[in-house]
Symmetry: C2
Subunit: 428 residues, 2 copies
């Protein structure tokens, strides 16, 4: 049986676009992995009327579970618990034990943070966070805010609801406990067995994949049992398919068809990302980066993984030409002659990183990220790359990447990861 | 008069949390800056029933404008135009001129990307993108997908709707043209004059600010005319206030009260970010970074700004100890004696960067980002920083930062920016 859930994200700062919401996507991913279907994510500001409207809308959508995030803080704009309680017709009452627990946490934090004196307004905020709707199950705070879980109403008019805090770290820390709460656990017992698989391509156009999928619709029996979504992001095209386990043979037929048409552009069919692939292929090797226009983004991305200290030795961000010369031994007159944005300089940067950092492989970037600095010969978006590998000829490449500064830098970083993966391919 | 709008973000990849939505926040920000109130953002997958449900919900919320993003592509899961047309009771018809325009764009892209042959499925996708609802205004494609604008129905049952493509770059490029389209321009003529101001604090607790706001509620006349939202992100506390222009004196009273209580922790009242402040104060100076646990993130952040090549010379990511010695001249026995994560080593790293890169100021980080590598004396989250400035004593500091690897690295990057801003304060 399909269990359907939706997520309500609260917070004017999220609605207004000042803060990127990480909770909606995270909760949705967790639910999908649990085999729960996610129908809607809604975002509202800290206004009780708008929140009530969203909750009423979702209650009408044949859902089994609503998860809310945010609005559990001490300030007056934090309204989620009171708003949900009103909708579900529950009185709020003070949980004295919880009040004491929050009080201790706030005390611990304040001693580290700033210096306002202990005060009645501060206590009022704590008391507010310790109010629990009657019949609800409270979930211990992982920050200062406790979560709340309420079972579906017996009439079936309102689904089960799980109220979680806004700070992603607090929410994520609370998740296992939230799943174990009786109202949520009860919903989860009803879910079906769903699989979700991902194919990733690079430099594969969405139009071409769409054409192949139209072919598949005609040629593959049972194609309609696959729920397929495609998405292009930073030059990578991702195709995710959800299906009930019985439709697995159909999915494998689709994978074969895509491999046949686009094999050269498909780099992953098992869910691995390009970061996973690079990390895996680096095993036993030492890497460094020499970056100009990417300004450290490739190094930051490589070291994003725990355990990367086993293979990342370091990086040189040679933003200015003098740093290319001083730290990577690129001769000043070569830069003068070819320009900093040239395959020659990129090659010397990567080779300089090999020498200076004593690594096995190095990648370099030198490009015009914009908005200024473009010329007729080297317009904004021109980026030169090099991959140097000990005892192998250095490989260079120039790409013309579209978009603004952020786009050029991000596309360059992804391109560098793909070049590394290619250079590290086992059979070479 | 208040003009209310809402945004519908479509795309299963967004709903499922596989892609971070940038359109909802971006469109909301643009609307708010135009003085339009944003009530809801809703996210749905590529399922016509769920999209219709969201559109019906929003149509009931006394809105003047709905903006949709995504679902305009050539694949079968792109359903927005057809779904909206059905709800608004409009037939779709082929715009032959548009079909030709899209055809030419696709042809140009395909020649750069991959190699599928010209085919009937490809043409079907293009034809699909060129279907326009009757009476609607189409907006020229900036990628392959045209936008669509439809005026509010005369009965007032359905608000004006603006249909935009999903790729953020395409959407943003289309925005000015979309605002000029008759259905949208008509809505915008009705908006009021709204101001929005921001105060930013660092190492200021949300509980303390909440206490001050409770005081303000009692003490400041007209406080209820301010719509205040606070948000804690990466150690920075942001307070945004929206108010009609007539309430400006009340807002200034609030700013004074906050300065009185938390002045030492407030770093911005004019909307500037810590990145703006650092960039501004660096004017005429040369900077470099020497990073271990942040792995290039500070350099990436500094070079994120256009024009940063005027002051960023470069960076050394000395992830391995040998890189600290080889590239920054930190003696191996000092590392041995104090440990890589120590203020002594951080200081030598920053001073090494000053020497090696010939800069005026350098910041360094060395810490335990986790999840491994923690010890009893230096647990995960321990990060040592140093700021070296030519002809001044080097300043060091150790922080104990909470959370997982990503959190420790992000908090460290922000902390480094604040230390730079402090070190660059004009009166020192």
């Amino acid at each position: 049986m399909t269990v359907r859930a939706s997520v309500v994200v609260t917070g004017t700062e999220v609605l207004a676009g000042r803060v990127t919401d990480r909770n909606g996507p995270w909760v949705a991913q967790q639910l999908l992995e649990l085999g729960v279907d996610v129908a809607h994510i809604t975002i509202c500001g800290d206004r009780p009327d708008d929140l009530t409207a969203q909750l009423r809308f979702l209650a009408d959508q044949r859902l089994d579970l609503i998860v809310t995030t945010g609005g559990l803080g001490p300030t007056a704009d934090d309204l989620t618990v009171a708003t949900v309680a009103a909708l579900y017709g529950r009185e709020l009452s003070l949980d004295v034990q919880l009040e004491k627990q929050i009080s201790e946490i706030v005390e611990r934090w304040r001693s580290r943070m700033s210096s306002a004196v202990d005060s009645e307004p501060l206590k009022a905020g704590i008391r507010k966070q310790a109010m629990v709707p009657e019949g609800a199950q409270s979930i211990s705070p992982t920050g200062t805010a406790p979560g709340v879980a309420i079972a579906a109403t017996e009439s079936g008019m309102l689904p089960a609801i799980l109220i979680l805090p806004g700070p992603p770290r607090e929410l994520q820390a609370m998740w296992p406990q939230a799943l174990d709460s009786a109202p949520v656990a009860q919903v989860l017992t009803r879910r079906a067995q769903i699989r979700q698989d991902t194919i990733r391509g690079y430099r594969l156009s969405e139009a071409d994949l769409a054409a192949t999928l139209r072919t598949a619709e005609d040629e593959i029996h049972g194609f309609e049992h696959l729920e397929i979504t495609t998405c292009l992001s930073l030059g990578e095209l991702e195709m995710v398919t959800r299906y009930e386990k019985t439709a697995a043979p159909t999915y494998f037929d689709l994978v074969d068809l895509i491999q046949k048409h686009h094999g050269a552009h498909v780099f992953s069919t098992d869910g691995s990302t390009i970061d996973d692939i690079v990390a895996d292929r680096l095993s036993g090797r030492r890497i460094a980066t020499a970056e100009s226009c990417t300004g450290g983004m490739i190094a930051a991305r490589l070291t994003d993984r725990s355990g990367s200290s086993a293979y990342v030795i370091g990086a040189v961000v040679s933003y200015a030409n003098e740093a290319k010369t001083g730290l990577l031994d690129v001769p000043a007159d070569t830069i003068e002659q070819h320009g900093a944005v040239s395959e020659t300089v990129a090659a010397l940067m990567a080779e300089g990183a090999i020498e200076r950092l004593g690594v096995d492989i190095a990648v370099s970037t030198s490009g015009v990220a914009g908005p200024g600095g473009g010329t007729e010969l080297k317009p904004v978006g021109t980026v030169c790359f090099a991959i140097a590998v000990v005892d192998r000829p250095t490989v260079t490449r120039t790409l013309h990447l579209p978009g603004d500064r952020a786009s050029v830098r991000a596309l360059s970083t992804t391109a560098a990861m793909h070049m590394l993966a290619d250079a590290l391919t086992p059979d070479r």
